[in-house]
């Protein structure tokens, strides 16, 4: 994707718009003498969610992607396979937090979609499982 760097995102439905609206919602001056409108459904976004979510879904997807990956093609061509495998055993204890984060995931674009739907006075659609949406976004 190419974005013109010195661009003022003022309209349209690009992901750049969401990127700017995140600032509008989350930054800027807050004055205690004023009240802020309720952001129910949007405040949830502030939950700290890592980009790579530790879940079985993610692991299987990455494994599949690696199986499909042609390491001998493209600009990121890797060096050939080493003759011998072994000696590297550092990964055993990783990833014990399987799924711990996945329930908390609520992406900002979800909320904007929701906000937009409300803006168009449509009934709110039930949300898809977050895992499925995350998968869509990463593909």
């Amino acid at each position: 994707m190419t974005v013109v760097p010195a661009q003022q995102t003022g309209g349209g439905g690009s992901s750049g718009l969401y990127d700017v609206l995140e600032l509008v919602l989350d930054r800027g001056l807050v004055i205690d003498a004023f009240v802020r409108v309720s952001l129910v459904g949007i405040e949830i976004l502030k939950i700290d969610v890592r980009v790579v979510v530790a879940s079985v879904d993610t692991y299987l997807r990455f494994a599949e992607a690696c199986n499909r990956l042609d390491l001998e093609a493209g600009p990121h061509k890797s060096p050939g396979l080493p003759d011998m495998v072994g000696g590297i055993t550092e990964s055993g204890a990783r990833g014990k937090s399987k799924g711990a984060l996945s329930g908390a995931a609520e992406t900002i674009s979800d909320a904007f979609k929701q906000a937009r739907e409300e803006g168009e006075s449509e009934p709110r659609r039930p949300r898809k499982a977050t895992a499925a949406r995350r998968k869509e976004e990463q593909e």
Binding site: P5, V24, R27, F34, R50, A115, R116
Partner: protein, 256 residues
């Protein structure tokens, strides 16, 4: 009628966006309240204001317009005062603080940078860097994809490697752009990006910043960099001097 507040500026701001469309349906016209050397950009607050896309955009458009012409302190979306007098009262009470912020941010704009990995490219990278991952992937492939446990094991290691790469690349993006910025503000993490960071940039050196972004795009080809700017300095306005640390939560609770 309560008052919706968009921004605070100097009353000498050359082009306050008076009469522009604000939030609401139909849009409320933007007004300007002056108090001493300060001005507040406001409109009437519509009934039942919610963070709808149309209203978020209206807020952003008013700020973009005002910010393009001179320095403003942008308010977070959804700030509503009981009436105009409360707004001018706040301006009077905290004049020194707002004037200091306006001076500090004068001539500066914000560029927000978000980046995510191009998946295939980052998988190439982590595989290229780890003989162990390559060996596992190869052995899985030879056995027709491997067992469920094999796949989980490979996937888990790849996920850990990609995650490490995210932290590395987030630092790399900051390292590449911070030298051409006056200040840096790291935004919240979320799904959808591996780095979310705003840079305060002098208008006069914005060209240099944009050039540095282009350089970073070339040297970090496995990243998709999304850059938005110039924007009003959302991420560089401090909380007011008299606010307790928990003021945001308190204000939100009060709104419900």
């Amino acid at each position: 009628m309560s008052t919706y507040v968009y921004a605070i500026s100097a009353s000498s701001h050359p082009a306050l966006p008076e009469g522009m469309d604000g939030v609401g349906e139909p849009p409320m016209p933007v007004r300007v309240l002056k108090e001493g050397d300060l001005a507040a950009i406001v409109s009437d607050a519509p009934e039942g204001l919610r963070p709808k896309r149309r209203d978020l955009l209206a807020h952003q458009n008013v700020l973009a317009e005002a910010g393009a012409a001179g320095c403003v302190l942008p308010m977070r979306f959804g700030s509503v005062a009981p009436d105009d007098a409360t707004v001018t009262g706040v301006l009077a009470e905290r004049a020194d603080h707002y004037q200091e912020r306006l001076r500090a941010l004068d001539g500066k704009v914000e560029y927000n940078v978000k980046a995510s990995h191009v998946e295939e490219a980052v998988l190439h990278r982590v595989m290229a860097e780890s003989p162990e991952l390559r060996a596992l992937a190869e052995s899985n492939r030879r056995s027709g994809g491997g067992s469920y446990e094999d796949k989980i094991r490979l996937g888990e290691m790849v996920a850990a490697a990609v995650k490490a790469k995210e932290a590395e690349d987030a630092a790399e993006v900051q390292r590449a752009l911070a030298p051409v910025a006056a200040a840096v503000s790291v935004g919240p993490e979320s799904t959808g990006w591996l780095v979310n960071v705003s840079f305060l940039v002098d208008r006069g050196t914005a060209e240099d910043f944009v050039a540095a972004v282009e350089e970073a795009r070339k040297s970090l080809a496995h990243l998709e960099l999304r850059v938005n700017g110039p924007l009003p300095p959302y991420s560089f306005v401090e909380p007011g001097p008299a606010e307790p640390a928990s003021s945001t939560a308190g204000a939100d609770a009060g709104a419900q």
